[in-house]
Chain length 260, copies 2
């Protein structure tokens, strides 16, 4: 995404650059990024890449999903000299990865390809289970919210949120303050299918915990505790809003990442 | 189902009869029926009913799902004197049950109601994941079968299997030999949606492991290892066929049970 610091120039002693599309059930993991006290997706991928290629490999993700967040189409990049063809590398990785992490596609990338810096858009989806009783098969994949929601009001709020805005109000203080909080939401949809409501958000970039804060705010609108106009005003004021709750991690999926 | 032994007459000191519709993720359980070396759904329900009502209650299921099999609409019956109204009983049960077992509905039943003996039809669904790479979100809920299947041939076999047949060939030796293996399949459908194939079977009764053997046989037809005509011949011969493999438990869901 254009706002982030650019990478350093490509080294000369390069191997091959790889693009991996990865799906994972985030339930058992401490998120994407390597850290001392939890097993993470990045760590698991790097460990298996080391086993398969015999090299120490650093894997970059398109974004750092939080603990418990899932992915259907996370993209990871790495540089790694191996004679394996893409299909063989994919098979070898899946044969060594745990069943809750799957590599869906492996392709060679242009030298210097970086899953995070080269991404031009990403889509997240958030699942809400509105049933009076929680569906046991969704308990790890949807936020159970047994009260009725006014989807019309939520859609009205969503209509305004589309487009370019300064989303400071929907950001959380993360690792390092973001200076520029302007992002463009290209798509924001709310779909219902039985007791399952899916909120899809596609944007050219996301602030820390932005999707979960956005979902928390939309749910407040659906509950009638915040009007679409009030939410619009909050966003316009460009201040972090302590009253906006973050929706729980386990309903969130990193769905797809786009590159040029 | 009409073939099973009838229950004993209703006792006079009766409380209220209850009908519970129950959904469960069977992954962590040793099946429905109480047994010494595993936690079972029946046991969990009876334990929670005892806690909520202060009584020792025996719960009967419409059928004994095997270890690892799931349910969307299992029906359980019990006799239990409590002053709780159906809605209150449901809430109390769900408040005490683990998240992978949910009571979807509680209603009062006529005296003597028995979830198994009074059932007139049941539907099971079996999920196959045909993707080249297993979907990590289906790993507990579908049989991963990465080879292509000839669904047309499977549907041709399914057409013949509908109706009344002696299904000895598709039964497994279970607890006690079944004398009468004639069952009527009212509905047998094979649907594809992306990489997920769902086989739905509705019948007036099922033999031990009949659905999983049926799915195993249909998959053999889909692989081209057995023609629809050969499968028909096998069923006509009314002998147990050792070559028919049983599909794994984790793809199977008890979907719905019908009563008069």
């Amino acid at each position: 995404m254009p706002r982030t610091t650019r990478r350093k120039p490509v080294s000369e002693s390069a191997g091959t650059w790889w693009k991996l599309v990865v799906a994972y059930d985030g339930t058992a993991y401490g998120g994407w990024q390597r850290q001392p006290n939890a097993i993470t997706i990045q760590e698991v991928l790097e460990r298996v890449l080391a086993r398969v290629t015999g090299q120490q490999v650093t894997v970059h993700g398109s974004g750092r999903t939080d603990a418990g967040v899932h992915a259907r189409g996370q993209v990871a990049s790495c540089e790694c000299a191996t004679r394996l063809r893409p299909m063989e590398l994919q098979r070898a990785l899946n044969a060594n990865l745990p069943a809750d992490v799957r590599v869906l596609r492996v392709t060679r990338a242009r030298p210097g390809f970086h899953a995070r810096f080269d991404a031009v858009a990403k889509e997240y989806r958030y699942q809400l289970d509105l049933g009076p009783v929680a569906d046991p098969f969704l308990r790890r994949y949807a936020w159970h919210h047994p009260q009725r929601l006014n989807l019309r009001a939520m859609r009205r709020a969503a209509r305004w949120l589309r487009g370019r805005h300064d989303f400071t109000a929907l950001s959380a203080t993360g690792d390092g303050e973001e200076k520029n909080c302007v992002r463009r939401i290209m798509r924001l949809t709310i779909r219902q299918e039985g007791q399952l409501v899916t909120i899809g958000v596609r944007a050219d970039g996301f602030l820390y915990k932005m999707v979960r804060t956005l979902v928390g705010a939309l749910v407040k609108v659906g509950e009638g505790k915040l009007t679409p106009e009030e939410l619009r005003e909050l966003v316009r004021q460009r201040r972090r809003v302590p009253l906006l709750e973050t929706a729980p991690a386990h309903g969130l999926f990193l769905w797809r990442v786009w590159y040029r």
